[in-house]
Structures are given as C-alpha cells and as structure tokens.
C-alpha cells in the first residue's frame, strides 16, 4: 500500500455532554481523494478542524504527514492547504493580489498563473474580491488553499451553495487536483459529489464511521438490487422473492438480480405479457447513505 498521509485512531471530542466525535478511525493514502459524508451534526467539521489543527482533541492518535496537528508545526502548515467552510478575505484587494499574498507565506508555492488557471479565475485576476460572485469567491478560497502547493488539501464543503454548473466546474477542478497527485480530504453532504469525486468514501454518523470504501463497493457488495415493473404480482413464481406492491408497482429486492430477472422474464413471456416500466436498479450511494443514517438526524 502507498504512503499514509492521514492516520487517525480512536479520535474523540466532546462539547459538554455531546460527543461530537466518538472513537473515529481513518486512514488516507497519498494521492487519494477521500470524502467524509454525513448528515449535519455527524461530526464532519469537528473531525476536519481537529485534523487541520484548529481544534484540540480529547482523545486519540493523529498523524498528518508525520506530525501531530496540535503541535501547530510550521513544517505542517507549509505542506497543508485548508479551505474552510466560512472564510473572509480582504475585500479591497484583487484576486491576483490576494493569491499573491498567500503564496508569499510558503517556501515553494505554485505560480500565480497556474493557480488562477486551476480554479478558472484567470480572467478575473484584476477584479476586486468584493465584486466576486459567491461561486467565484469559493473558487478563490480553493485558490488560496492551493497557493502554497500543498501535498494535502482539506476541502470543507467546497460546493455548498453552488448552482449546478458551478458545481460541475468545481468537480472538474478537484479531479484536476487528483491528477496532480494531491491528497484531498473532502467533506460533503452531497451524495453525488462523493460518488463522482472520491476514491473512497467514509460515512460518518454520530461521530463514528459506519461504512467506508470506494463508492462502487459501498453500493455493490451484498446490497440489494431492485427490480420494478407496473402490474400485478399474481401468480409470480416464488423463486424471484417476496414482492412488495405499492401504488400499482411491483418491487422485488434481490441479491441475485440476474437469476431473478431470468425467472421473471421467462414467467412473463410464457404468459405472453409485457412487464411495463421494467427497471433494474443498483442502490445509489444515496440509498446506502439513507439506510445507514436512518433516524440519526
């Protein structure tokens, strides 16, 4: 396995009576895009802020690029980029000046043009920060996080509040980061974002990781596939499984979709019937997520 960039064991953090992070383990390898997915209040931001060094933990072991973030080591600051959820900038400086200002904090920053290009702000280089739209401002946040050419980038809800086209743009940008070999820890509550960007997803509920793995495995592997059609389940061969009937739709949940479908279609064909609106669906990450987080928020 490749080099470990983030290693967390038994992380705990409480605010008064509330345990925000309750024994969390997490490993992120170099070059990986890892998404922390969970409902509001699941402990995503607390976890990320502890890893960033903005908060102290109660218990647990953390190593970020070989450092404990609580020590606030300058070496770590130089190697990590942080994009927080809420951020301010000097409103009267231009986009170029702002990125330049932050570049200057690092020993080997990216070139200004390169950063502007990566986040798609090249044309707005001389615009005052105050005049940027919400989406452009968020791209500037990412630009500031990237300015120092970090090995590891924290992105806390990078696309919250974006319109769909701005989100696609941000996704392209994050994919671009992966192609550059950056390690990214991303938090999001958008399922499709995690599914489309992340190499691995960790689902966080009540401060603990309840499922973890590549999106394809989280949604595959032993999960039920659903076969659906409009009509009646009368006379359905029992080997396809127990049907669920709702509003004229028949649903069959199965772990063996190929066999079930074969039986079902043979049964329909023998009766000379069509199965209207027939669909076969694998669970989406959203279904898995909803199943795992049920009753938590």
């Amino acid at each position: 396995m490749s080099e470990t960039v983030i290693e967390v064991r038994g992380l705990r953090k409480s605010y008064g009576e509330v345990e925000a992070v309750a024994g969390l383990d997490l490993t992120v390898h170099r070059g990986e895009v890892m998404a922390l997915l969970g409902p509001n209040g699941a402990g995503k931001t607390t976890t990320v802020e502890i890893l960033e060094g903005h908060r102290d933990r109660d218990e647990g072991e953390i190593s970020i690029l070989g450092h404990d973030p609580e020590e606030r080591s300058p070496d770590l600051r130089r190697r990590v980029g942080i994009v927080l959820q809420t951020t301010g900038v000097e409103p009267y400086l231009t986009v170029g000046e702002t990125i330049e200002q932050f570049r200057g904090f690092y020993p080997s920053p990216l070139h200004l043009d390169e950063v502007l290009e990566m986040v798609g702000l090249s044309d707005l280089r001389d615009r005052r920060v105050k005049k940027l739209s919400g989406g452009q401002q968020r791209r500037l946040d990412v630009a500031i996080g990237l300015a120092g050419n970090p090995e590891l980038l924290f992105l806390d809800e990078p696309t919250t509040g974006f319109d769909p086209s701005a989100r696609r743009g941000a996704w392209d940008m994050i994919r671009n980061l992966r192609s550059l070999g950056k390690t990214v820890l991303l938090t999001t509550h958008y399922m499709d974002e995690a599914q489309s960007l992340a190499d691995r997803v960790a689902i966080l509920v009540h401060g603990q990781i309840v499922a973890e793995g590549p999106p394809a495995i989280l949604t595959g592997d032993g999960r039920l596939t659903t076969i659906r059609f409009r009509g009646s389940a009368e006379g359905l061969p029992p080997e396809v499984g127990e049907p669920e009937i709702d509003d004229g739709m028949v649903r069959i949940h199965t772990t063996e979709p190929t066999r079930a479908l074969h039986v079902l279609t043979a049964w329909a064909a023998a009766r000379g019937e069509e199965l209207p609106e027939l669909t076969v669906t694998k669970p989406s990450l959203e279904d898995v997520y909803l199943e795992l987080t049920e009753g938590s928020s």
Binding site: T87, G88, E90, R128
Partner: protein, 257 residues
C-alpha cells in the same frame, strides 16, 4: 522566508488594503480634524494658563485632539476591525497558513501606528496653519516618545478588548461605551478643572489622561526641555503591558458566537 520578513510583507498588504478603500481612509484622517475645527471654533480664542505663561485654548486643543487621534487610530480601530475579521473567518484562515499569529497581529499594529503618526502630524500641521499653535521643536523627542508609547499601549488594549467583544456587531457599541466617557473625564474634550475631584481622580486611573498630559507638556510652547513626562508615559506603558498580557492570554482566532 523568515518570520520577520513575513510580518514585514504583511504590513505592506495591510497598508494596500487600507488605501484601497478611499472613503474609509479619508474619514480616518478627517474625523479627528473635524473635532479639532469644532473645538477651536467654540472655545479656541479663550485665554488659558499653562505652565510657564498664558496662551490661547487652541494650544490645549491640538495635543488633546492628537490624543484622541491616537486612541482612535489604535484602540478603536483594532477593537472594532479585529472582531470583524474574526467573524468573517479571516483570522482563522491566516491561522491555517505558515504566517505566525504574532506576525499578523504585529502587521496590524504596525499599520495602525503608521496611520497614527500621519494623523498626529496632520493634526499638528492643521493647528500650526489654522490656529497658530507652535509645532513642537525642542520638545519633539517628548512628542515622539508619547506617540510611540501611546501607540503601543492603545494597540495592546485594543487587542485585549477584542476578548470581551462577543461579535462584530457589538464591537462599535462596546468600544464607544468604553472610550467616549473616558475621553470626557480625561481632559481631552474638556478640562475637568470645574468637575468634582473624584472625576479627576477616576480619570487618573486610566491611561487616556496620562497620554493627554504627556502630550500637553510636549506641546507647551513655554516648555524649555525635551518634553518628557516619564511619570505619565510610564503609567501609559504599564497599561500597555497589562493589555498585551491580556491580549496574549485571551485573544481568539475564531468567532466567539
């Protein structure tokens, strides 16, 4: 890059951001001048007694408004703008970079002191040109020492003050409630000769009056020495050190509420 260079570079960015907002910059400088003009219009020609002779009240108002300008450009400025930057997340953003916290705050303080020096210069020039108040010559060292110590002390106190300001919206209200009464009992806007003794004594506890006293001496045209008032300057410095200790202990990089 060394941390000292990071701090120096940050001063340039603070300075650039300041001048990019001309209305804000203009009124930063105009505000004390408006007070200078008003007080001189109302009371400037009255004759007053100062150590060494008699002169016009304008000679009192120039160092008094210089005191007001120092307090305004340091204490009031930092105690209102830092909670704003804190609420916006700007402080937290810097906190996540290799820029050390002390370097950021030093840059803010240095910039405030640059503005203060310009302001005191402008107030002095205005006083000389419009009201015939002698600009300090032999007492210039006294002016500079009072300015340096006052600038440092009121910046420290402004940073300490941010610890009791819960959010940016509350900032101006809290700062004004603290500083305006203090200016009135500290012989800045009016002299407290006629006031009950306890008012004057209360004023003497706080640093504003001592800064004002030090500058009054340094602007006194009859003063023959270098204009030092070590006693007053010492008390201002002591407040500054106390402010610095509180600021270091209680300063927050994250929004409080």
């Amino acid at each position: 890059m060394s941390e000292a260079r990071l701090a120096a570079r940050q001063i340039l960015y603070e300075n650039r951001a300041f001048w990019r907002n001309p209305p804000a910059a203009f009124f930063t400088f105009a505000f004390p001048l408006i007070f200078l003009v008003i007080f001189n219009m109302l009371f400037g020609n009255e004759e007053i007694e100062v150590p060494g002779g008699r002169t016009t009240a304008s000679t009192f108002f120039v160092p008094a408004i210089a005191t007001f300008a120092i307090v305004n450009a340091t204490f009031t400025n930092l105690a209102t703008s830092i909670p704003f930057a804190r609420d916006q997340g700007l402080l937290k953003r810097y906190r996540g970079t290799p820029l050390p916290g002390w370097a950021y705050l030093t840059a803010r303080v240095a910039h405030a002191i640059v503005v203060t020096i310009l302001l005191v210069g402008i107030v002095t020039a205005f006083g000389a040109l419009l009201y015939g108040v002698d600009a300090p010559t032999n007492t210039l060292p006294g002016v500079l020492v009072a300015l340096a110590v006052g600038g440092f002390a009121f910046c420290s106190l402004g940073l300490a003050m941010t610890a009791i300001i819960p959010n940016a919206d509350a900032g101006p209200a809290i700062v004004n409630a603290v500083i305006l009464p203090l200016l009135f009992i500290s012989d800045v806007f009016i002299q407290t000769d006629q006031a009950p003794a306890w008012v004057s004594t209360l004023g003497s506890v706080f640093p504003v009056k001592h800064l004002s006293e030090a500058l009054q001496t340094a602007f006194n045209p009859f003063h023959a020495g270098a204009g030092f008032e070590w006693g007053h300057v010492g008390i201002v410095a002591a407040w500054g050190v106390a402010g610095l200790i509180l600021a270091i202990r209680f300063f927050s990089w994250e929004p409080r509420t």
